[in-house]
Symmetry: C2
Subunit: 244 residues, 2 copies
Amino acid sequence: MSGWLVVAGLGPGAEHLVTPEVSAALAEATDVVGYIPYVARVAERPGLTLHASDNRVEVERAAHALLMAAEGRRVVVVSSGDPGVFAMASALFEALEARPEWQALDIRILPGITAMLAAAAAAGAPLGHDFCAINLSDNLKPWALIEKRLRLAAEADLAMAFYNPRSKSRPEGFVRALEILRAACGPDRLVTFARAVSTPEQHLRTVTLAEATPEMADMRTVVILGNSATRRVGRWVYTPRSAG
Amino acid sequence: MSGWLVVAGLGPGAEHLVTPEVSAALAEATDVVGYIPYVARVAERPGLTLHASDNRVEVERAAHALLMAAEGRRVVVVSSGDPGVFAMASALFEALEARPEWQALDIRILPGITAMLAAAAAAGAPLGHDFCAINLSDNLKPWALIEKRLRLAAEADLAMAFYNPRSKSRPEGFVRALEILRAACGPDRLVTFARAVSTPEQHLRTVTLAEATPEMADMRTVVILGNSATRRVGRWVYTPRSAG
């Protein structure tokens, strides 16, 4: 049996941000598994089967990928960005926990450029000092925990990158997050809204928290809040390396 | 004048983790600037001048790169990992702040695979839930601020990635960090020491905080502490997507 399973990060969108390691895995794969828009980024070719599935079925998708690898197929599970940051890698290990017989398979996680790093690079260097990454979706954790983390991160004066800031089904969460951050960090704190980074639809906008409105974000936006020293220089925004 | 300046992330070490975007910039460069071991990763070729400099001269190095770009040269400043994470991008903007006449130059930051993402992928998915990245070096911030951030991040139950955990000149900092984390997170919390990830010298080791000793880290190590739900599955360590 020569099957294997790779969980690969495709980066934020641009082809030139896909690592050669990931491209090589895709070139050898017999099967590609993932959320519809990510699978759509993989070119079709003879001998490759694309398995696109809907959102919110991550563990079932991982189990399907493991089953195919156990049958001897060469399977790549694709994630946007980096698979280990709010993406498919954890879902794979959840599936593996339930099926110990699959733990002997040849499994590798291949890192990718996660959205916050591409967004930070496009904006300047807002994550140039200590920072945190918080998923603002409350699908898998209570909203109260998100609020607690926002307050503690502000008290720690960490820059913050927010994934999944706002969905149609629960727009009120991001409204509340902005209120908490405004109270904790003050109205002058800089915040960058980076949408569809590295794609033709890329749109970047840096404003103060006083100017920020919930509509500036959607589910394709990563939001980066500076720390107390973050400032503009020319057309960029950056956080100095020193503090205190 | 056709000069430009790019700050590029070379990733953690392996050639297959360098993005095509960065490889293309290096292929067009007339000058490569950076810390000695990072410049050593760039192949020599006719028409390319390599400018290697020592550590802790980041702003001077950035100013030198800007000066060459202003003179019409095509300059790549190389960083290990991602240039926006505890690396050269912020130093560049510090230099730009001091010299506004250079702000009109053609300047781009190119993201890379930062050490914590490569380390997390090699270990499993320890950063699969909310997390923070903290530089444990006190060269540019007071040690008291580092301690405060460790305590608040533990209270927020964030996974944590530590850069520059330990140097020969100040080994006592990491000793103290482990004491604080043991008190805040308990003896059973999992911690991964990932050295020289993606290179032939890669060494990974996951232990509990009770078992962790300062000697497990050096300056080539990134340390990843799990959150309260982080656990082992098979030969991996991962943090579930859900909490609370």
